[in-house]
């Protein structure tokens, strides 16, 4: 405000401040090198946000809304998500320091070319209560329909497309609606260049921060917490303050109607880390939660498998070098290394170990189990030997029950919330009436549902399956003695064979997968363990299968060089 020079690009005197404390031209968004001493470093409060756009803020005639930019919206979302994570036990440093630094960095990197408008043009987006027909608008302004079609997420909010199409009939020159100042502009931006912010990306930010801090939360857990409602994501606009009115194109930006997808969030995270020019992340060492040795302990427990298997997972990890610091730690920008998905990796290691010890060809594992059963019958003292069959029955039963519950939850998932969304003031009354009707119907049929009340959202828990040590159904303490033998002072599996999931790996970059999983091509036991971990991690079995293939290829690297026939059984 005290800066009166003319802008180098557009010659206007219309300055604002970026978060980095640099002056930028409000007319053409040219960022200067001139900085202003910033006293207040509290990044996340609204007062800070106001520094950017306070100048142009004016009280609206109706509703008392304020002008707000899309990035402010996302900032608020991230703040809420960080708070939720803190409530789940993540250290406060994440919210106070790491995440906001990442965000600030992102704003800087992306704002430099936030829009490429010719000099002199001003942002001309209407807020909620201005009229729709504006004769002075530029003739080449795109219609609403065009803007809507630019958004890549076509699944979301088809609702309002039909309304939009009726709106576009009004006038081709109609300026677009959004509650935010730059909603329309935001969607127009060429997405590929600037890594435009999206709702799934907020989760990428969170995960990136968690990873940086090496917090004990995997990506699959994070996403599960989102779906269970512990972390704001769906209907996050509910948390916006009253004066930040969300309507029109904002809906396309901030409202999601699908669960976040692991692969998408992960890939974006990697892209983001590179975009922000982040250095090598803090080392993942063998006492980190994300290290396969540690994660394997957790998953073995959750899968109700004997603790003794942990020795084996560690051996495999060591043998193929996936426990090395350099393998595990994320180095942004390094395109040659395959990015590690810690949870999937650990699950795959366990599966490989099971294959090593039990073969899992729908035959051998049952034989071993019968032997163990015999032994257990005849020998009541001494520990129980692990019986695959019993384990299978117990775990399958629980898995089926939980899967069934999950399937029902999917059908009962509530997408809308009490705060209604409307495209514009015009269809507000329609929307409200609809909402009222929905509520009425819910009440009416809710009464007929009987005493079964919808369960409150479950308490966030790290473990989805738990097994009590006192129960006979718990296999943690069971021994693997029955299936092991000693050879030259080393414990090895009695099982001499192994079958590879695939002899040749695909090129992941070309077809998206290392291998192609089809249930019918593989033994049922293998499919079962895939299904088990697929449930625990909430991802497709094929992704775990990919990791299994990758591990096997590392493990049997040398042998594979000698050309083997397809699906040959290997001698270890």
């Amino acid at each position: 405000r005290d800066f009166n020079e003319r802008c180098a690009q557009c010659s206007e005197v219309n300055w604002g401040l970026t978060d980095g404390g640099r002056y930028y031209c409000r007319s053409c968004h040219n960022v200067t090198e001139r900085t202003r001493e910033v006293v207040n470093t509290d990044f996340m409060t609204n007062s800070r946000v106001q520094t950017i756009s306070k100048h142009s803020r004016k009280q609206e005639k109706t509703g008392g809304g304020c002008e707000w930019y899309v990035c402010e919206g996302f900032q608020l979302v991230l703040k809420k998500q960080a708070e939720a994570l803190e409530a789940l036990g993540v250290c406060p440093q994440m919210k106070d320091e790491i995440l906001c630094n990442f965000w600030r960095c992102y704003l800087q990197k992306s704002k430099q070319a936030y829009c490429n408008r010719p000099a002199g043009e001003t942002v001309k987006a209407l807020s909620v209560c201005e009229s729709s027909t504006d004769v002075d608008s530029e003739p080449d302004r795109p219609s609403i329909l065009h803007l809507l079609s630019l958004s890549e997420s076509e699944g979301d909010l088809q609702t309002d497309c039909s309304f939009a199409s009726s709106m576009s009939k009004v006038s081709e020159n109609t300026s677009v609606y959004s509650g935010s100042v730059d909603g329309s502009l935001y969607l127009m931006k060429n997405q590929k260049e600037k890594l435009r912010m999206t709702m799934p990306m907020t989760l990428s930010f969170c995960y990136m921060a968690l990873l940086w801090l090496r917090e004990p939360m995997t990506l699959s857990e994070l996403l599960r917490f989102v779906v269970e409602g512990h972390i704001p994501y769906l209907n996050v606009f509910r948390l916006f303050p009253e004066k930040m009115k969300l309507c029109g194109l904002d809906l396309k930006i901030f409202c999601v109607e699908s669960w976040p997808v692991y692969e998408e969030v992960h890939n974006k995270m990697v892209e983001l880390a590179a975009f922000l020019d982040l250095p090598r992340f803090p080392d993942i060492t063998d006492n980190c939660f994300l290290h396969p040795d540690m994660l394997c302990i957790k998953y073995l427990m959750e899968a109700n498998l004997p603790d003794e298997l942990h020795n084996w997972t560690c051996r495999v990890v060591k043998k193929i070098g996936i426990g090395e610091v350099d393998f595990l730690t994320l180095v942004p920008g390094n395109k040659s290394t395959r990015k590690v998905k810690y949870d999937i990796l650990a699950a795959a290691v366990i599966i490989v170990v099971l294959k090593l010890l039990f073969l899992l060809d729908d035959n051998y594992e049952w034989l071993l189990s019968d032997l163990a059963e015999e032994r257990n019958k005849n020998n009541k003292e001494g520990g129980q030997y692990f019986e695959f069959k019993k384990w299978y029955e117990v775990v399958k039963h629980s898995l089926d029950v939980e899967q069934k519950k999950l399937d029902e939850e999917r059908a009962k998932y509530v997408w809308r919330c009490e705060k209604p969304l409307f495209y514009s003031v015009k269809n507000k009354s329609k929307v409200l009436k609809r909402r009222q009707m929905v509520v009425n119907l819910q009440n009416q049929f809710g009464k007929l549902s009987g005493p079964v009340q919808r369960a409150e959202k479950p308490n966030p828990s790290s473990f989805q399956l738990s097994w009590s040590e006192e129960n006979t159904d718990c296999f943690h303490g069971h021994s693997l003695k029955g299936i092991l033998q000693e050879k030259r002072g080393l414990l090895t599996a009695m099982n001499p064979d192994y079958w590879l999931c695939t002899v040749k790996l695909c090129n992941e970059r070309l077809c998206g997968h290392l291998a192609h999983y089809r249930e019918v091509d593989f033994p049922q036991s293998y499919h079962f363990v895939l299904r088990l971990f697929s449930f625990l991690l909430r991802i497709q079995p094929s992704y775990i299968h990919d990791e299994v293939c990758m591990i096997e290829h590392k493990l049997f690297n040398k042998k594979l060089y000698k050309k083997l026939k397809y699906n040959t059984v290997l001698r270890k």
Binding site: D156, F445, G450
Partner: protein
Amino acid sequence: SSYEHKLNFKKSKEACLSYIQDAMLQKQWKRAAEFLTFYVESLEKDYSREHVGPSEMIWRIGTEILCHHSHSSVKEFNCFMEQMKTLGVKRYLKASILNAVCLEHVFHLLCNGQIDEAYQNLSLAESWRFGEQTAIQNKEMKLIQAYRGLLDYYSWSKQKNILLEHGLDGFADLSVEQEMHSCFRKAAVNLKEIIKIPGVWDLFVKCYVDLLEFYGDHNEARQVLNEYAYNSKFPANPNAHVYLYQFLKRQGESKKSLISALKILHDIVPSHELMIDFNTMLRKSKKRKRRRLGLEVIFAVLDYAGWKENVKAWSCLARQVKQVVISEKHLGWIKKEWSSRKDWWPAFHFSRYLAKRNWQENESLSYEKALVAGILLGKDCKYFKYVSHQGCKAQVKRFRMLKKFVNRHNPVYLRISG
């Protein structure tokens, strides 16, 4: 499938819908209602491109649940229907669906005896107009009008009965009479419309014909009934022929027209109860062809289990068979009818067990049957032997006559069975 860990709004609601449908199939209404509460938020999305939108789904499912659920009441049902109509008026339901909603509601009201409310609803529905589609073209709208016509008929009928009871004494009844005529006009207009459309409109046709007959418009009535029975566009409907026959009978029409009406009924529903009348009419005829047809008709009737113990039917057959045997002409008729039945009728009608039972339970039945059996199967057949023996033992005169008759005509059996 359960391995799918992605989820979006659409898939989620599809899954919800399939849970609802499963629950309904298994008549688990509470569970269906529970899942429906999660489905209703679909209304907040616009499905105008879909073939069946959530509004229609919710209406259909909701109606089912409310009809079957033990805790729902008429009040709840009405309240639900009102909401559905509101949905419709906002143009999210097609006009035809909306009318269908209204009709269901009306049926429900009628079942609960709320005639006046039903009438009001129908009138209200008729007054709805939808932009593109005029109400008249809509088939459901025609139904609404027809049902209103029906209720008008009902009112007319009540008034008519009042008048007939008290007689036309005094001017006090003039208003009743006027109202009656006005109901007639309203009813006639609407009923006439619906029966133009191919369909099964038994109730409407009956009422309309009743009105026409009362006011003396027999030509119109005949035309309507002919259309209903003979127009190939209309689905085959035995009742159409029954109504036509009954009308013709009332009008005192010629035998010829009565017979042609009943002939078609015989073709469609050989076991119809009117076949007895038909046979009676035919066997008394002078024309040979008709008597022949009569025989065919009565044999066909007794092919059906429902007639097995019907004395009248057996009596008709017995009479006709006797007639043929005595005249000694046209034995070929019996032979022909019997040839396709001789393999199974004996076990079906003339077993020894049945002989015993019929004799015990119904002497007349056993008499008629024994006569037929004796002719068709000869005097040595199980049925005839048993019944005639019992009858003679009991010294019932007609059984003795029967025995004589059959013995005398036994050679006939040989000619038939050969």
